[in-house]
Symmetry: C2
Subunit: 552 residues, 2 copies
């Protein structure tokens, strides 16, 4: 895998465009007052910017080269810039400005676990800082060294550890190296008939180790579980040696070490390998589209599905603003035709009593044998009908499934045109979802007003559980021409995060803490929880060499 663009999301040469989406330009003009044309400026060129040089002691450089081989140690400008931080909106804005922060002094790419251990040992002996790096897709500030870090900083890129080592077919477990990217992992598993079933939006550009380090969640989590559920065994290289978490299905051996590594963002060491639950590729995969008269009805239906005896793989319901956005981004003429058809509109408005401006688009996924899928589909259908919804077939679901990994490119498309677009997501219990939704929506719009920007805020429910679900908010804001982007963005982002913790929700459902969500940590887990984390990190890493300053 080539690294992502140093200034934006994804691969060079790939970008989001409005040109093949006839309704998107008018939509953006309507909600943000922006007439969408070509980018205001070309992407920045690295050679036009000043990149601070590395400061790596010669002795440490030699030690790293001995540890991982000379070819594995890079001080190249582009390597250091790409490895300097992740892809949060704040990161993208600063990269474009040439504000690179505290860049790593070296990027090291060990070939195997033994070399990872030798690199960590050499770095700790030299009192250097080690920041593990996988796909670099963090949007929470988990990858950037502290601005005032005076020790040498090593970005430890694990992406050469990219193989499925073994599949235990009887136990349905795969031993996998942590640096593997999503597509390669699914290809290696799929060649033998298996799947992990973990498909976060970052899938193409994120690694197993990153998913573990951030407690990631994938689209089909209703069926497969989150990465926390999928991960059974672990190998982690830390300052005091190799932590091994045995791959057992459950254990009562004290507080769960496994769950301490999950979400640890490199603070306990470098994840080199995991033993993961895998499943046979199902006979059938199906995502169906549904329409509900309003967001709350869709949420009620999903809540009921989660309690019922049916099993589904995906549950997703968009609020009215997101539903309108989804329809504005459609390319599929069949769907356009269908939705535009006078017959459907009449049916929705007259027969179903829908207000088409308030309706909520939903996707529900099914996997398994054909008989199983058919049975689940029938059971879900009757719950949906009780909530006033209707099935609109497999077309919209297929479309959603195809384009979901492209979503992160939209932020660059907007930034090119002076608009900040970003996401914030959380989770709470079923009874608090609508109050949370109302509170966050109000907080977001108040923040737009306070910042003096045009803004748009939309939301979907995804990832259902017994007790509740994730609410995923997407927002865009456009300052007056010439106005600063970062300050109003931070005002809005902070208002939304604050509304989460003020309304019985967590600071993040699957995007981790890093530095960007750290201001809300104590409000989320209380002061004794923070003290526990501090003690844990201190116990594993008394010298504060492993990605210090993240989480707490």
């Amino acid at each position: 895998m080539p690294p992502m663009k140093w200034w934006g999301w994804g691969e060079e040469g790939i970008s989001f465009t409005h040109e093949d989406k006839p309704d998107l330009g008018p939509f953006i003009e309507r909600v943000l007052g922006l007439r969408v044309g070509p980018p205001a400026a070309a992407p920045p060129r690295l050679e036009d910017l000043t990149v601070p040089g590395p400061e790596l002691p010669a002795s440490l450089r030699e030690a790293l080269e001995r540890a991982a081989g000379p070819e594995a140690v890079s001080l190249e400008v582009l390597d250091r810039v790409v490895h300097g931080r992740g892809k949060s909106l704040r990161d993208l804005i600063r990269q474009r400005r040439g504000d690179f922060g505290r860049l790593p002094d070296a990027v090291v790419r060990p070939a195997d676990e033994r070399a990872v251990a030798a690199v960590v040992r050499a770095a700790v002996e030299a009192d250097a800082v080690v920041i593990p790096f996988g796909g670099g897709s963090s949007i929470s500030g988990s990858l950037e060294a502290a601005g005032d870090e005076r020790r040498p900083v090593i970005s430890l890129d694990v992406t050469r550890l990219d193989r499925v080592l073994a599949i235990d077919e009887a136990s349905r477990l795969a031993r996998v190296q942590a640096g593997v990217f999503g597509p390669s992992l699914e290809r290696q598993l799929g060649d033998r008939g298996w799947t992990l079933g973990h498909f976060p939006d970052s899938f193409n550009h994120s690694t197993l180790g990153g998913w573990i380090a951030t407690r990631s969640s994938g689209m089909q989590s209703d069926r497969y579980g989150d990465i926390c559920d999928l991960t059974r065994g672990l190998r982690v290289i830390g300052p005091s040696g190799t932590l091994v978490v045995r791959p057992v299905p459950a254990a009562s051996n004290g507080p769960s070490i496994r769950e301490m590594v999950l979400g640890s963002e490199g603070r306990l060491g470098v994840v080199t390998e995991a033993t993961l639950q895998v499943r046979r590729i199902p006979e059938q995969r199906l995502i169906l589209g549904y329409l509900f008269p309003e967001f709350a009805a869709g949420i009620e239906a999903v809540r009921e599905i989660a309690e019922s005896e049916c099993s589904v793989s995906v549950t997703r319901v968009s609020d009215a603003p997101e539903t309108r956005f989804s329809f504005a981004t459609r390319r599929d003429p069949t769907l356009v035709d269908r939705l535009k058809s006078r017959a459907l509109r009449v049916f929705l408005e007259r027969r179903m009593s829908f207000d088409t401006g308030r309706m909520a688009l939903s996707f529900i996924g099914f996997e398994g044998s054909r008989a199983h899928v058919a049975a689940q589909r029938r059971a879900v259908g009757s719950i949906v009908r009780r909530r006033g919804g209707l099935c609109i077939g497999a077309g919209p679901g297929e479309l959603y499934d195809q384009k979901k990994f492209d979503t992160p490119y939209i932020r660059d498309f907007l930034l090119d045109r002076g608009v900040a677009g970003d996401v914030s997501e959380t989770a709470t219990v079923w009874s608090r979802l609508m109050p949370l939704y109302d509170a966050v929506t109000a907080a977001g719009h108040e923040a737009f007003a306070a910042a003096g920007v045009r803004g748009y805020l939309m939301c979907h429910l995804s990832h259902s559980y017994h007790a509740g679900a994730c609410l995923y908010f997407t927002f865009a804001l456009r300052p007056p021409p010439g106005g600063d982007l970062l300050a109003p963005y931070e005002l809005v982002k902070s208002a939304i995060q604050q509304a989460f913790v003020d309304n019985d929700a967590t600071l993040s459902h699957h995007h981790a803490v890093g530095t960007e969500h750290a201001p809300w940590l104590e409000q989320d887990i209380t002061a004794p929880g923070v003290a526990m984390l501090r003690g844990l990190f201190e116990g594993a890493d008394p010298g504060r060499n492993m990605n210090p300053g993240k989480i707490v």
Copy 2:
């Protein structure tokens, strides 16, 4: 709830007997060489034994009385003896001998969370040790103060905190105080149509807080999950204040604080409240009995069920020795008749090619709507048949369900007759279950020989997961008349535990670490894991006031 017997399991006046089980006496004589008669001696009388007096500074006593009320502070002999330790076999043997160890200096029973906090504050200010106490059913040594503890020791009995505070019906969550015993919890929930579905063998004599502190697992865990899955929110009183874990369905807010409290055995503080996933009481509950030609075939069937699209509530398969024991303890004449019937024996041996000495008894449970139960039962039936098994109906399952909470009484019955009986359980992945079983069986029998005792060892699989299951070993040993019980018991117990960690399994699946399993902790979680736990406990409790010496 009255406290359990100070010298044994369960309620005064209730005990296990062989008299209503016509085949049990002959069975015990055959396998242990013991002719079962009345107890060798009457239960010990506390007044015949010397109980060390409490050493509680007057100032601390006053502070505790101010904190919880004078009536809540007890220095009574029986209170202190009952609260001095749990019910491990080592505990029972020592209690009967009048070897009480380091008894608590006071037992404090606060009425509410505010009083718990005041007690913890007073104790920490006086540098006393606080050991939280629920049902006192620990069999891993989690409740006894260190023999050389010189600070005052307070047993903090939380059983007055025994109410279901609220049920959030939309979210299917109940807020419950941690001191509630199993039967009271299910009664309070059941009155409103709900169930937690958590039924460990200790159910009648253990509390919610104890389940959480030890990562407990209940019989229907295949459906409801373990206590780790059921527990969403937590309130924990520690030295630095109140830790609150928000009841959210999932979170990405750093290493899971929730999972640190689960299994913490009081080292992080006193659990006062939890928010638990509950479910509607199902329309139908059914446990069916099955017979397999041998243990391995039963395991294969359960492994296949865990991968299939059917959902079950209980999976349990006994090995041949446990199957023989089960048949020897039966009271039910219908079953006796049936199993003794020439027709069944001929059928099993001729038509099914069973060796009835090797066959494996299995229970599989189903819950839900009648239609759902019927469908699952059919699907399971066809898997069972493919593995050469057959269904023997609901009778044996009902019997098992009725008597399962009586099992712990057997240890006292055996101790009364000079026999040590105990359990050790673990978990590993499917592919390693049979090698583990063989290794533990060999290690147990070698240890019987080395200790010079007659011994019996039996096993069942229970608690199935995607990746593996629990193996639960029960063993009994009889030294020559007049020989010591404790030394050979410890030899056998140690051999079994060592075989667990030597064969890719964990030191315990659901009985915690305490002091009795602590020797195997580092072999299980490796040295860096131990360092993480030490750091965690140090962070939460720098003065080592909260149940010090447990786990690490």
